[in-house]
Amino acid sequence: MIASLLIALLFPFVFSCSQKLVRVQPYEREYFSQDKMLIDPVESAAEQEGHVFLIKEASAGGESSFQGGCGCR
């Protein structure tokens, strides 16, 4: 079921060159060069809090962090 969900999610992006997905032209992207529009606006803090939440809670993944192993987990 999960595999099917993933395929359904990724298929239109991977195999389509649909113009419907071209929503923003290069000259319209000025806002995406601003820090406040980044998905992780403060990268070092995102890395640290990803590590803190990883060692304080049971959940993992779904985040951008690559978290190498440490004994505190």
Partner: protein
């Protein structure tokens, strides 16, 4: 490349724009303290050097200087273990060294990262390899990512306890799709598949029952799935909102929901401030009981509160100072974290809940 630093420090990059590699470096200092008498001071640096227009290599180094009652006392911060507890307090109870080396190929439409990670502390050695591929599609409105990491970690407890195995291996596969929705909004989906095997608990956790004492005993494999959606929207210049939701589930019976919201606002052309709130809630593992209900015959014994049901709240502030054409950028964040009250926390830490303060400040320079 605006997201280069993020790309290099994180497994899944979110490159929403066409970009090129650039030489960069930076210093970071992280701090963490909580009410269980843990303090961690973490200086670090990073340096990334382009070899050609399409190739880059980088190094990151992080040091964790740790002061913790749990280390000094051999396990629980409220009970001194006669065998494992240290008698004298040193400046730091443990120091962890964690270098990362990586290489990046980026031709504008394809980006491939390959790296290795090593971590050494007194009783634990971490070794990982990671790789990541990003493909830009639809005139760079869409980015599809595939990430992989595998760790080969090893326990070496400070006292000679015969563990069932001293290995811990963790594999993570990430799939991501990032899509520009409009000139002022972007969405990202991430799916993570996780698999762990080996000794998945702590060698120092033990349970004192009425007439028995047992070490924490957990299953030796764990399989999990996480689904995340992130959304960033410019509300109106100069304010943006950053939303994130994650659902996690695993075969130990733990399910969790995480919601995170950040509001960011430019106060000047070069100074941005933000506020964040995060809420997290999880169920307990199927085999976790109230700490007072365990018997000596139970197959699994849970001591770690992270395997019980609880929730947490995090509030924080952040700032970004851009020094313009000088190439310097100063960024920081400070967060307060609090869990709900919990019998496991009470049993092990002698506190009703965990309360923590943590922050990070970094100075980055683009050559």
């Amino acid at each position: 490349m605006r997201r280069l630093f993020g790309l290099l420090s994180l497994l899944l990059p979110f490159k929403a724009l066409a970009s090129s590699l650039a030489d960069r470096g930076g210093f970071t200092f992280d701090y963490y303290a909580d009410n269980t008498d843990v303090q961690v001071y973490s200086p670090g640096f990073s340096f990334f050097k382009t070899l050609t227009k399409k190739f880059l290599i980088g190094i990151k180094m992080r040091i964790d200087a740790i002061s913790a009652a749990s280390i000094r006392k051999g396990g629980s911060p409220i009970r001194t273990d006669a065998v494992t507890g240290a008698t004298a307090r040193r400046a730091f109870d443990d120091v962890r060294y964690a270098p990362t080396l990586l290489g990046v190929y980026d031709d504008g439409d394809n980006s491939f990262t390959l790296g290795v990670y090593y971590s050494k502390e007194r009783d634990y050695t971490g070794r990982s390899v990671f790789a990541n591929y990003i493909r830009q599609l639809n005139l760079q409105n869409t980015a599809v990512g595939l990430g992989f990491s595998q760790s080969f970690d090893k326990w070496d407890p400070v006292y000679k306890r015969n563990l069932p195995t001293d290995d811990r291996k963790e594999r993570k596969i990430d799939l991501s799709v990032t899509q520009l929705l409009s000139p002022t909004s972007i969405v990202q989906f991430i799916y993570s598949n996780l698999y762990s095997e080996g000794f998945l608990g702590s060698p120092y956790h033990y349970l004192l029952g009425k007439d028995f004492a047992r070490f924490e005993t957990l299953p030796e494999t764990r399989r999990g799935h996480a689904f995340t959606v992130k959304f960033v929207k410019l509300i109106d210049e100069p304010t943006s909102v950053n939303l994130s939701y994650r659902y996690y589930t695993d075969n130990w019976g733990i399910k969790s929901n995480t919601a995170d919201i950040k509001l960011l606002r430019d106060l000047t052309d070069s100074f941005t401030v933000g506020f964040r709130f995060r809420y997290y809630i999880q169920t307990g593992a199927d085999f976790a009981k109230n700490p007072k209900e365990y018997s000596i015959t139970d197959r699994y014994i849970v001591v770690d509160y992270r395997l019980s049901g609880f929730s947490s709240n995090t509030v924080g502030i952040l700032f970004i100072k851009n020094f313009g054409f000088s190439g310097f950028k100063l960024k920081g964040a400070l967060n307060y974290y609090q869990t709900s009250s919990n019998d496991y926390i009470r049993n092990w830490y002698g506190e009703d809940r965990i309360e923590a303060l943590f922050g990070s400040i970094s100075l980055d320079y683009t050559f």
